[in-house]
């Protein structure tokens, strides 16, 4: 996105924006999970988180490549992932939230997976063949992410007193970022109407059902929905994104076009 004010978007620009924001969600979350590499509580979970991060980066790559193709200005996946400014990123705010302790990481991933699981399943029916194909691959991956994080939610919530307390805190901290998942702005509306996009607002009931079922088993409760943070889709981010990008973009900024 050039950042200039465009009075009317053509359909291609809308599609570009729609695919790009999805790609941003996955890139930023993947980068966050990657920070656990070598630091996770156990070797097994270190690999589990890295595996999820790699699934997400794979989804991000496919989406960036497609976004570049839709845009038609010759930007490839690397340029879109690494060479934009903070305000150009349109990822959901929850994806950029810090890892915190293991409970925070698990709750963040659980919230997002419970959302992306039905999201990708519906996207499989998209009129856009490429998005439908990406969705078919991604939905299998995210089903596992949901299963894995659900099992952890249950064990941590219904585990020791400390693990339970940490889970309560993580749920409280991250709840305010869940409202954004179901927002439908003009871009999303247009994509929905043209049969390309998913009605995110319609996923809320399923998300709540999934989350509440697991939380109940975990002897936890979903906090009451209070004030919800928003702004990611418009490039208004929390203070965390800049720091993520400085690390993420360092190599391409220092050595533009570097490949390895």
């Amino acid at each position: 996105m050039s950042g200039t004010c465009e009075p009317m978007m053509t359909s291609n620009q809308t599609l570009f924006s729609y695919v790009l924001r999805l790609a941003d969600d996955h890139l930023i979350l993947s980068q966050r999970l990657g920070e656990w590499c070598g630091e996770a509580p156990t070797l097994e979970e270190d690999l589990a988180l890295a595996n999820i991060a790699l699934d997400l980066i794979g989804q991000a790559r496919a989406l960036y490549a497609y976004a570049g193709q839709v845009e038609g200005k010759g930007r490839d996946e690397d340029q879109l992932a690494f060479m934009r400014y903070e305000r150009d990123y349109q990822n959901l705010l929850i994806t950029e939230q810090p890892n915190g302790d293991f409970a925070h990481t698990i709750v963040r991933q659980f919230f997002i997976s419970a959302y992306m699981d039905p999201f990708w399943r519906r996207m499989e029916g998209s009129k856009d063949d490429m998005l439908a194909a990406i969705a078919a691959k991604a939905s299998k991956e995210v089903t596992y992410h949901l299963r894995h994080t659900s099992e952890w939610v249950i064990r941590l919530g219904d585990g020791t007193r400390e693990s339970h307390e940490r889970m309560v805190e993580a749920l409280d901290d991250l709840m305010m970022f869940t409202g954004e998942l179901f927002e439908m702005d003009a871009v999303a509306q247009e994509m929905l109407q043209s049969g390309v996009g998913v009605d995110a607002s319609d996923l809320k009931a399923e998300w709540q059902h999934t989350v509440q079922t697991i939380l109940q088993e975990a002897t936890l409760e979903l906090p009451k929905a209070g004030h919800m943070q928003t702004g990611g889709r418009m490039g208004r981010h929390s203070e965390h994104l800049g720091h993520i990008l400085s690390e993420l973009q360092y190599m391409q900024r220092s050595f533009p076009g570097l490949t390895w």
Binding site: P41, T42, E44, L47, A48, N51, R147, H148, E151, R155
Partner: protein, 95 residues
């Protein structure tokens, strides 16, 4: 985490239909379901798996190395038990 909370499990992977499960290694996990996840995440990252078994390491009964001679020595001299005198037709596939 403590050994009691995260006991050891042995992982067996079946790479393809028609093959048997083979020991791949071991992992720590809280319980059977998490052991399956850990086994999947640690040992099937490169398309190695079609099926996974996990079993608590403490549930495995092992032969004592002291009994090695009694257990295995007698078979060393029974060459006729090896199927080396037969040609296996190609159609048989995995044996």
């Amino acid at each position: 985490m403590s050994e009691a909370a995260m006991p050891l499990w042995e992982v067996f992977i079946r790479a393809r239909n028609g093959l048997s499960h083979k020991h791949a290694g071991s992992i720590h996990a809280t319980d059977a379901e998490m052991a399956l996840h850990a086994a999947r995440d640690v040992y099937t990252r490169r398309g190695e798996g079609q099926s996974i078994w996990v079993v608590r390491s403490s549930d495995i009964v092992a032969s004592d190395p002291v009994d090695k001679d009694m257990m295995f020595e007698p078979t060393a001299s029974k060459i006729y038990r090896h199927p080396t005198f037969y040609e296996i037709p190609d159609d048989v596939g995995n044996m």
